[in-house]
Assembly symmetry: none
Homo-oligomer: 193 residues x 4
Amino acid sequence: MDRRPGRPRSEETRRKILAAAIGELEQRGYGELTVEGIAARAGAGKQTIYRWWSSKADVVLDAMLEHAAAAIAVPDDGSLAADLDAFLAATFKQRGLRPVLTGLMAEALLDPAFHDEFRDRFLFGRRAALRGIFERAAGRGELAPDTDVELLLDIVFGVLWYRLMLDHAPLDEQVGRELAALLTAAAGNGGIT
Amino acid sequence: MDRRPGRPRSEETRRKILAAAIGELEQRGYGELTVEGIAARAGAGKQTIYRWWSSKADVVLDAMLEHAAAAIAVPDDGSLAADLDAFLAATFKQRGLRPVLTGLMAEALLDPAFHDEFRDRFLFGRRAALRGIFERAAGRGELAPDTDVELLLDIVFGVLWYRLMLDHAPLDEQVGRELAALLTAAAGNGGIT
Amino acid sequence: MDRRPGRPRSEETRRKILAAAIGELEQRGYGELTVEGIAARAGAGKQTIYRWWSSKADVVLDAMLEHAAAAIAVPDDGSLAADLDAFLAATFKQRGLRPVLTGLMAEALLDPAFHDEFRDRFLFGRRAALRGIFERAAGRGELAPDTDVELLLDIVFGVLWYRLMLDHAPLDEQVGRELAALLTAAAGNGGIT
Amino acid sequence: MDRRPGRPRSEETRRKILAAAIGELEQRGYGELTVEGIAARAGAGKQTIYRWWSSKADVVLDAMLEHAAAAIAVPDDGSLAADLDAFLAATFKQRGLRPVLTGLMAEALLDPAFHDEFRDRFLFGRRAALRGIFERAAGRGELAPDTDVELLLDIVFGVLWYRLMLDHAPLDEQVGRELAALLTAAAGNGGIT
DNA sequence: ACATAATCGAGACGGTACGTCTGGTCTTTAC
DNA sequence: GTAAAGACCAGACGTACCGTCTCGATTATGT
């Protein structure tokens, strides 16, 4: 319940600002994004944005999280290969987010404060989902006991981000299958088989 | 031979500008870097910078390439594991470049024109070096015939960049050895052994 | 009533900017005047100046009009010679404005938009005052009926500006008397006498 | 005879620069005039201009003096009224020079050094011509003995420049006749007649 | 009802850095 | 040995946004 006095925050304005951020992103790209432009498109005051978000990247992060909220479910198909395949397939399907993701990463690289927020609110969420998959596989004995799961995670997300950023090679389901095969082969070495 | 009339470009000024860029980077970080600051520190006119470079990222890229030119040699120790290990060890040793590299990557993510230049003049150079190592290994029969070398490259550089950017896990020689072991294991499957 | 939304214009800042313009003018002269300098001296942002004035000349015109607002009254002494004498004496007394006036005229000669503003807001005001004197004289029969009053006005202000600009001859009360005498003699020819 | 060693100054380049100045003036106006633009249009180096002229105004002054060199002859028709009439008619015929003249005057008002040069090389030349007319008239007894010739000169050129600058009233032969009539009337008062 | 308090759109404010331009100097090659 | 070409420094120019602020209107809570 909202027991504080004063005019409550306008949910409508919140939505209009996030929508405007997405709109500006699609129309002009992350590099050309300005708080001034978002405010103008949303018909909102700049102060209203600064009151609730600390930077334009913060707005975009919120917009992206809201936009892509229930998008990726964690698969549980009974085998590492199948789960990995499904996870990567679901992830790669969101390739339309490429400009948004690379823009946010750029901001994170330039602004240490946003770096932490981006990592905690987005990257570590995806990371935890994939870690769950690996841990279930370990529980089933599909991984060698001394496997460095963190390295496996970094390999998956490393390839994902590297191709996202460089845009020099496809990021499709075939890559997902290849990567899943390579990782199961490598991680299974010495496992139960 | 330089047979054009007019005063030739000053090599001294070029060096002073690149040095000033490095200096500003070390003192204030990439995010705080300004063309104005570089010009002031170098005792050069802003126009002189804009005459020869198209953006501050362009200056930093030049400075970085010059600074780290002969730094990384391509090892050739006779086995994939040893070469990979040496390559990664040499690469990880340059961790002082982290702020510069992440700054350049941020710029590349925001500016499509610089994206291409950064990829072609820096990233693809390193990539070609590592590809050479893998191809020599393939020649020696150390890789399965159907190995997707490009994917292996993306794994190595993906992990490298992912950890460089997120800074959530160490980027040291131990990781290098682990990664080399994992890749040789995965890629050697079905090879001559 | 001021019912527009948004922060209202700061009267204090307006005054500080105009005062700074006068200060810079006195200290450094019109040629050395810069918007940057005015903003710095006023403790105001450059954008604030550009928001309300279209050029530095516009600022100086406002400052001058405000500064010299009630300065010159229109004399009414009962005879053309006396009125003319008094008008010119009062005008010539403002010789301290010479650098400002010549600066504004220079600007008007270079910028057509400012040309009109300078003419309408300053020159034509002075011109109307003198025209009043001549018209009262005509009403008293002191001028020949076919006198071209506009030409008389141009003679007075022409000599005034010509000497102001060239600075080759004095612009004092004696010249005023001489000019008044010459004009009354010329314009009275054929008058009632 | 040209006895200095080395390649002589290129008369062709000199002419091309002056012509380029006139061309830029006509096409873009004095305010938009730049040394860079003149150099580019003339196909000359900027240094070539700075070597021979001290400012863009200096170039324009030279160009104008050359362009309008033999344009105005001093009339000698035997009477003040006729001479004055002819002088003003000839002067007013050059109304095409208005943009150039006002531009030069603007420069003179902003730059004290050019002020003197403009005055000495142009204004005082015209002034001397008109003074000759008045002095011949005085010799013929057409002027009152105590006439202030300098004031008469200032009236003529004052009206001329005032109308040139303000552009609020015509500057044609009729004004010339009116002014001549008024001055002869005023100056002749008390003359021999 | 009325005071208090926090919201909102709007936009002015003091600033920073941008990328372009200019004046004037300096250093080469071309003639 | 001069002229032309063009690189150089220094710094003014007007522009775009920044993040903060102030305004008047609006919308809730608490007496």
